[in-house]
Structures are given as structure tokens and as C-alpha cells.
């Protein structure tokens, strides 16, 4: 707070006070960082690799099976995504998927199953608040940003592709 008519001396003191406070806050933040235990990164990465790998193997098996019974490549891909999403939603409802993610971390979050979980979980939680204000408004609270920026990024890339084509670069 600065009073009107305060002399320059006070002002500079106040300025220093602010800098000091900032420095103190930074020092405390660094100290807390040192004090706070964190997950073991190599162990977490290994677990993520195994979990993500298993999910991908399941996906690949579904894809191979679909192609084996004579579906074309695109339709097989569609079936694969849909079955993985269904599995994830069922496991979310049974409260199993959070346990998989607790162990497997990003390995369970990054594949499409993680995305499905992030839509199913709010739907379950906010069901009590009604079909419109609950599920309707809140189902995408977690997945919303992914959808928005996913669509936006593809629009930007599509635009660059279009420019590239006109310019004869592609």
C-alpha cells in the first residue's frame, strides 16, 4: 500500500520489501521442493511402459482378429477403438480402472482407454446433479480441453497442409 505524498525514501523501502518477500517465497518454495517426497521416476516409467504396452497389445489383438475374420482395415480400426472404450468404461464403473492407473500412471492415461475413463468418471459422479446440469454440463470437465485443443490443432495443421498444397510444397 502506498500513501499519497509519501516520500521517495518510503517508496523505495516498500519496493525492497516486495522484492524481499518474493525472494522469501522463492526460497520457501525451493525448500519445500527439497522436503517433499516424489514418486520414483524410473520405476514409474517402467510401470507406465508395461501398462501402456499391455493395453496396446490388447488393441492389436482385437485389430488382428477383426482383419482375420475378413473386415477391412478401417472398419477393424473402428471396432478396436470401440471395444477398448467399452472395456475402459466398464472397468471405470467397476472402479477397477482407477486402480490400474494408480499403478500404471501415464501408461493407463494416454491410450484411448484413459480418455474414455475421463469421460465416464464425471458422468458417474455428477449423475446426482441431474441429466442436464449434472451429466450434460459436466461430462467433459476433464476431457473437454483435450477435445477443444485436439480439434483446434487439427484445424491448424489442416490449414498449413492446405497452404502447402497451394504453394506447391506438398
Amino acid at each position: 500500500m502506498r500513501l499519497a505524498g509519501a516520500d521517495s525514501n518510503t517508496e523505495s523501502l516498500e519496493g525492497e520489501g516486495r522484492v524481499d518477500r518474493k525472494k522469501q517465497q522463492e526460497a520457501y518454495e525451493n525448500y519445500v521442493k527439497r522436503k517433499t517426497p516424489v514418486h520414483n521416476l524410473p520405476a514409474n516409467m517402467t510401470k507406465a511402459f508395461i501398462t501402456g504396452g499391455i493395453i496396446c497389445v490388447i488393441g492389436q489383438s482385437i485389430l488382428n482378429y477383426c482383419e482375420k475374420i475378413g473386415l477391412d482395415k478401417d472398419i477393424s480400426g473402428g471396432w478396436t477403438s470401440m471395444i477398448l472404450i467399452l472395456l475402459s468404461v466398464i472397468l471405470t464403473a467397476l472402479n477397477v480402472y482407477p486402480r490400474i492407473a494408480k499403478w500404471g500412471g501415464a501408461g493407463a492415461l494416454v491410450p484411448i482407454t484413459g480418455f474414455a475413463n475421463s469421460v465416464a468418471a464425471p458422468a458417474i459422479e455428477f449423475q446426482k446433479e441431474g441429466q442436464v446440469m449434472g451429466i450434460g454440463c459436466k461430462i467433459f470437465t476433464i476431457a473437454g480441453p483435450v477435445i477443444l485443443y485436439g480439434v483446434f490443432t487439427s484445424w491448424v495443421l489442416g490449414f498449413l497442409y492446405w497452404i502447402g498444397k497451394i504453394a506447391g510444397l506438398l
Partner: protein, 334 residues
């Protein structure tokens, strides 16, 4: 009468006439499980929503506390209550049916201290014979409001704390019992600029250190004058920071410090990371574990310091820091 800069020493100390604790399943399975008055194995407490479940806990805790003391709700002059939910709905909907004139409070997880301070001040000032102080938190409603839906798959950092599903109610009054509130130290908001809401122990430790130091100075006491100094929910990370901060003030509380958040769960078996948190944490441990020890005279005098992290989902998204607050309640055997 006022004592020092931030404290009050009561000339006629009010008594903690009775208290009650109501907790959920996980708390019931913890180290203090057998000491709670009521453990509900179904976390919805027979209700449809987490919020209604939390209200039911508060209602049950109040009923138990009044029942133990054989005091009717009509005899309770004022009720001081609060919780973590927006606009304090768990309290409003939980205590509505009692028809007791009430003050709704918010002090984050320090609310039990705030409620006890106001209730004891009111009794000491002669504004009524009995006051009820109540607070609660619920894992389901807190996760939903502050973090993610329960079935969302994510990894909690090791500094994260587990919100206690529990409620504690305290009847403060003139009727003799074996525990009195002899003084209080009202805490200041202390902000060290930390923004990590998943490390609340570190956000609240500076406030706890400030209030403990203030209490010792105001009353002219040493840490040894207290059988225990009991913080609310600093957890493992917060406790180690509190010790460091106190060492900086040349006060050693290591010998007699305990933390409710560290006691309510078994860190190794219950996967609760840095410990318990929430209004219900300090309140239920005070009622189930601390007060009985004071009643029996095992402890003569304790300083109860529930700590709160003052934040909302909006302040967090807008990048504001998470300041802390802690209130000190001096409880003595008599």
C-alpha cells in the same frame, strides 16, 4: 481477558461438557478405529449423495454429543458449525432440523478450532449455558469439489493428503466436566506464497508455526508446559516443515508434538500418502483420542492447533497462492 497480542485467557473457563465423533469406513479401519463413537461402514451413510452423507454425519455427531450430556437441543443457545463445501451446505442441511440459532463458519480444516474458540468465548462471556461446535468433511464430497470425480484414473502425488470422512461435535458449557478450555489463540492468515494445493501440509505449516509461537509468547509458556501440542492435519510433510520452522524460532516442539492427520490413518497399510486432512480429521481425533486422555488426567494441558489451507478451485485456477491459518485452543484437565 485478553492475553498478549492474539490470545484470550478465560477468567471462568468453560467446560467441554461432552463430544462425539462419527467417521466413515476407512477411518474405522485405521489406528484409532475403536475409539470413535460411530463408524459407518457405508460411506453414503444411507443417503443418496456425498453431500447429504456429510450432513448426516454432522447431525449424528450433534445428537450424540447432546445425548451424552443429557442436554436437549432447546438448551443449546448457539451452534457454531462449518465444513469444506461451497456455502457450507453440509452444515446448513445437517443441523437445520435442530432449530438451534447458528453461526456458519469457514476456516477450511481449522474450522473445529474456530468453532471451539467462538463457542468458548460465548460461554465465558455469559451469552448462554451451552454452545455446540461442530464440523465435518467427507472424502467423496471433497474430492468432487476440489479435485476429480472418484472414479477418475490418476496418480496422487506423495505429498497429497486423504480427506477424512468424519465429523466431530463438541458441547461447550458451564456444566462441570473434566476438561476445560482455559484459553485460545486466534490465528492470522499466513502466506508463504506456495501454490501447490496438493501439498497442503507445506501450505499450512507456516501458519501452525506462527500460532504456536504466538500462543507460547502470549501465555509466557514453554513447549514443555503442554503435555502435547496437537496440530490438525499437517501430515508427514507438514510436520517436518513445522519442526524446521520452529527450530528457526528456537523453539523445540519435537518431543511433544503430534498431528491428527498422521494418527488417523496407517500410512503404510492404508495408502493415504502424507496423512489425513479435512475439518473432520482434527475434530474426530480431538473427540475420540485427545479429550479422553485429558478427562482421565493422562495429559494435564494440551494445545490443540487445527490448521486450514485457504483456497478454492477458482483461486487455484487463477494462480493464487494457498495461505494457511491455524487457531490454538488450550485444553486442560480439571
Amino acid at each position: 481477558m485478553t492475553q498478549g497480542l492474539q490470545s484470550i485467557a478465560f477468567e471462568q473457563s468453560p467446560y467441554v461438557v461432552s463430544s462425539a465423533s462419527v467417521v466413515g469406513k476407512k477411518e474405522g479401519e485405521g489406528p484409532l478405529g475403536k475409539m470413535f463413537d460411530m463408524v459407518e461402514t457405508e460411506n453414503l451413510f444411507g443417503e443418496d449423495t456425498w453431500e447429504a452423507a456429510e450432513s448426516t454425519m454432522q447431525k449424528e455427531a450433534c445428537l450424540l454429543a447432546m445425548g451424552k450430556a443429557h442436554i436437549d437441543k432447546e438448551d443449546v443457545r448457539f451452534l457454531f458449525g462449518g465444513d469444506l463445501l461451497r456455502q457450507g451446505i453440509a452444515t446448513s442441511l445437517g443441523v437445520e432440523q435442530f432449530g438451534i440459532p447458528m453461526f456458519g463458519l469457514f476456516g477450511a480444516c481449522s474450522t473445529s478450532g474456530e468453532a471451539l474458540a467462538l463457542a468458548s468465548m460465548s460461554v465465558a462471556a455469559g451469552y448462554g449455558d451451552y454452545m455446540l461446535a461442530v464440523t465435518s468433511s467427507h472424502f467423496g464430497s471433497a474430492e468432487k469439489e476440489f479435485r476429480f470425480p472418484l472414479s477418475y484414473a490418476n496418480q496422487r502425488p506423495l505429498s497429497a493428503q486423504w480427506t477424512v470422512t468424519g465429523s466431530g461435535a463438541f458441547l461447550v458449557g458451564k456444566k462441570r466436566s473434566h476438561v476445560r478450555i482455559t484459553g485460545i489463540t486466534v490465528g492470522k492468515i499466513v502466506d508463504f506464497g506456495l501454490k501447490d494445493s496438493q501439498n497442503m501440509g507445506a501450505c499450512m505449516a507456516p501458519a501452525a508455526a506462527d500460532t504456536i509461537e504466538r500462543n507460547l509468547k502470549d501465555f509466557g509458556r514453554e513447549p514443555d508446559d503442554y503435555s502435547r501440542i496437537i496440530t490438525g492435519d499437517l501430515g508427514y510433510v507438514g510436520q517436518s516443515i513445522l519442526f524446521d520452522l520452529m527450530r528457526g524460532k528456537e523453539i523445540d516442539i519435537k518431543k511433544n508434538h503430534i498431528d491428527c492427520g498422521m494418527m488417523i490413518f496407517d500410512q503404510n497399510k492404508q495408502d493415504t500418502h502424507a496423512g489425513g486432512s479435512g475439518c473432520g480429521c482434527a475434530a474426530s481425533v480431538l473427540s475420540s483420542y485427545v479429550l479422553p486422555k485429558l478427562e482421565r488426567g493422562e495429559w494435564k494441558r494440551v494445545l490443540f492447533v487445527p490448521t486450514g489451507a485457504l483456497m478454492s478451485t477458482v483461486s487455484f485456477n487463477e494462480g493464487a497462492s494457498v495461505p494457511g491459518i491455524a487457531h490454538g485452543i488450550v485444553l486442560e484437565h480439571c
